[in-house]
Amino acid sequence: MAYDTNPAPSTVYHPAPPGMQIKVAARDLSVTYGDALALDRVQIDIPDRSVTACIGPSGCGKSTFLRCINRMNDTIDTARVRGSIKIDGEEVNDRSIDPVLLRARVGMVFQKPNPFPKTIFENVAYGPRIHGLAANKDELAAIVETSLTKAGLWKEVADRLHQPGTSLSGGQQQRLVIARAIAVNPEVILMDEPCSALDPIATARIEELIDELRENYALIIVTHSMAQAARVSQMTAFFHLGALVEYGPTEEIFTNPRDQRTQDYITGRFG
């Protein structure tokens, strides 16, 4: 392929924060859709128990990167993934890895809230049920309650668990979807623009939630809002045209960007 002859994209790495525990590590990760190169040899180490924000203009490959981590790209026929991506040192792209198992470890929240057209309870209980995480009904109910509580939704829906999940408001639906992801007890939670379909109040609620979830999970969030990235994340990765341009602690990236493109983007000169 043509890009193989190109020099590797030079990424600016800021020094890692002290005591960083690596959860997800990508090496030479490239993705092509047919002939189009979507991700070009990305190298990145993502820390555990913190929020990593992926920013960049539309089509820069940040969603593609996210979908590599739980192999959602498998569902796209034309997608080709090359290189390595490891979670806790375990190769994700390995054939021996069952994507079903992987996705139980790596939860995902999508841009538009997509609850199942079932009851609130069923939405949350579905994951534990297919993975056999609960031995009986009471355990299942307990998992549903803790997940909804962690997602900050329990108080609002406790008395209407058997109403359809689609009857909730947009912000509530997104929290329901997060509860659904938490219910299978994942290690990593991927969020693909989780607030882009929500109003500012619901967004604030989700951001709060993300901050709380940081205690227990590694979160990777794709966002178009620079302010959001600055508010919720500890690490920030800036992607441009499929390449990882700059990566480092959020404070560093926003106050002291070293690459011209990063500076232009975060100051609003393009994107």
Binding site: T75, F116, G127, R180, A181
Partner: protein, 579 residues
């Protein structure tokens, strides 16, 4: 509004035209819908009107004497003996008892034409079930012959009755011949009628002769010339004969080409054979006798059957008899239950759709059992699992092509493969069902795929995102959401198969099946026919009574279709969920 004036005027100029074109388009749409609705109303209305005569049927009730000797020829009351009994003779005797005047064989045949001898089998079954009836007189109700039925319904024969204008003397001659005489020209009105009809008919005959002669002039071939010549000659001769009858001075001889005249007088019915030239006297024969004194009768009726005998399938005598049976209260009109409880028959009054309905049910059962699971399975595989490559795209294109293949081709396939190669029975619902299933498969696959495609991908992603396998995502989430669409598509496919005739013709389901197939496992291999084929068979039947029955059968089929589609809509509403 700080647009330049020129742009404003340009937009305004176009605006009027845009509004006009929009209104025009809306008008076209409304007109198209109105036209479609009008045609639909016309169609349903005409079928309804045509089917009215088949809704009811006339039945006669006869007191049939089950004489021990005729019914039980061996005298041992065994079933075998009872089955050899002369049931038809018993019915014939009961009918003869009503009209004792009838003696000569031809007339008897006419009389017995008022019912179908198939009814003897019904009487037999009744006796076999209850042998204690032997030796007793039972009242037996049987549907009257279709031509008499149509007459009694007043659809096949135009008739008029008028009171006799002046007293008439009736004089018996030898046998059943009578002569009628009056002081005034009492038959004047009738003769005028006849002359009008005869004149009209002579005119058409002459036109026919002229047409044949014109064609003759253009033809060279000898054989064809002979045909035209014969036709022209025949028409001329007939017209001439009719004109002769118009001759004022001659007596009118009643024949099959002109309206018939019957005279009703104190219970007797006289069929007029000749009216004298002065129209005051006539010759006739007694059809139904009664005590007639020699004195002049003032109270009598001129009963004109305006449809000439040549234009109807029921004779003057049969009309007189049917009318007498009605007068005596022996016939009654009722809802045509035979239409639903009998299988096909050559006798329209005993023909029903039960056999075809059962055949349709059995055939549809096989079709459903094959087409729905296979079709939905194929759709799920193609839509959700199959890799998108050259082979699947070829399969896809061919499925779409199959949906457009003329249905008769599937019939040919069924004939060649299932009947000839596999040796499955002919005319059997199992073969019909398989053939229709093949025909329905593409419809089911295409509509199921459309339904699956309509499920938003976010649902699949959500399921995969929490770690569901592909199969779990499809069966837990996608399929339930697609179910209403799949159901609708399947039911519409089945409805289409229910109305299909052509492929079934090829596999012999067009046969005349007088016994309804068993509604059970063995029924699948018995010869059967289905509703649309039954309609097709009846529509080409010669008997006029089948005309109404065809329309009635169409109504029944339409009702079935509408209820199937209603079920589809109901299921759709029931299972439809929002996402």
């Amino acid at each position: 509004m700080n647009r330049p004036a020129s742009i404003r005027t340009a937009v305004e100029a176009r605006l009027a035209r845009r509004h006009r074109s929009e209104r025009r388009f809306q008008f076209y749409g409304a007109a198209a819908i109105c036209l479609a609705v009008a045609f639909l109303c016309l169609l349903i209305g005409s079928i309804l009107i045509q089917s009215v005569p088949a809704m009811t049927t006339w039945r006669m009730t006869l007191e049939v004497e089950l004489d021990r000797q005729t019914i039980d020829p061996r005298g041992d009351m065994s079933e075998a003996s009872l089955r050899r009994g002369g049931y038809n003779a018993a019915i014939q005797n009961a009918l003869r008892a009503q009209f004792p005047d009838v003696e000569d064989r031809a007339e008897l045949r006419e009389l017995f034409g008022l019912y179908s001898s198939v009814n003897a089998a019904r009487l037999l079954n009744r006796v076999v079930q209850d042998p204690s009836l032997v030796g007793r007189t039972v009242s037996f109700t049987l549907p009257i012959d279709d031509d008499a039925d149509l007459y009694l319904k007043g659809v096949s024969v135009r008739e008029s009755r008028a009171p006799g204008p002046a007293p008439v003397r009736i004089e018996r001659r030898e046998g059943r011949a009578v002569s009628l005489a009056s002081d005034t020209a009492v038959f004047d009105a009738y003769v005028e009628d006849v002359r009008e009809v005869a004149r009209e008919r002579a005119r058409t005959l002459e036109q026919r002769a002229l047409r044949a002669e014109a064609a003759l002039a253009d033809t060279i071939d000898r054989d064809i010339r002979a045909i035209y010549e014969a036709e022209a000659r025949r028409a001329r001769v007939q017209a001439e004969r009719l004109r002769e009858r118009l001759d004022d001075g001659a007596p009118v001889v009643l024949g099959p080409q002109i309206p018939s005249l019957l005279i009703q007088v104190s219970g007797a019915v006289i069929r007029i054979t000749e009216v004298s030239a002065d129209r005051s006297s006539a010759q006739g024969e007694i059809v139904i006798s009664a005590a007639l004194d020699e004195a002049a009768h003032a109270d009598w009726t001129l009963w004109t059957l305006e449809t000439p005998q040549a234009g109807r399938l029921i004779s003057d005598r049969q009309i007189a008899w049917a009318d007498a049976l009605r007068e005596r209260g022996l016939t009654r009109s009722g809802f045509n239950t035979e239409l639903f409880t009998y299988a096909d028959s050559r006798e329209p009054e005993l023909a029903g759709v039960l056999g075809a309905l059962i055949g349709s049910v059995l055939t549809m059962f096989v079709t459903m059992l094959l087409a729905v699971p296979i079709g939905v399975g194929a759709a799920i595989y193609l839509e959700e699992f199959a890799p998108k490559n050259r082979i699947t795209s070829i399969i896809e294109v061919n499925i779409n092509n199959l949906a457009a293949v003329p249905s008769i081709v599937f019939g040919l396939l069924g004939l060649a493969v299932f009947i000839n190669t596999f040796g499955l029975p002919r005319s059997a619902p199992i073969v019909g069902g398989v053939v229709l299933a093949l025909m329905t498969l593409p419809t089911v696959i295409i509509s199921s795929r459309a339904a699956l495609k309509a499920v938003p991908p976010s649902i699949r992603e959500a399921a995969l995102g929490v770690g569901a396998s592909k199969t779990q995502a499809v069966f837990h989430h996608v399929l339930p959401l697609a179910a209403p669409g799949i159901l609708t598509g399947s039911i519409i496919g089945l409805a289409q198969a229910l109305g299909e005739t052509a492929p079934l013709l090829m596999i012999g389901m067009v046969a005349f099946i007088a016994d309804a197939p068993t509604l059970g496992l063995s029924g699948f291999t018995e010869p059967a026919t289905v509703m649309p084929v039954q309609i097709f068979l009846w529509s080409s039947a010669a008997e006029r009574a089948f005309e109404a029955r065809t329309a009635a059968a169409i109504l029944i089929l339409l009702t079935l279709m509408v209820s199937l589609n209603a079920a589809a809509i109901y299921l759709r509403r029931r299972f439809e969920r929002r996402w």
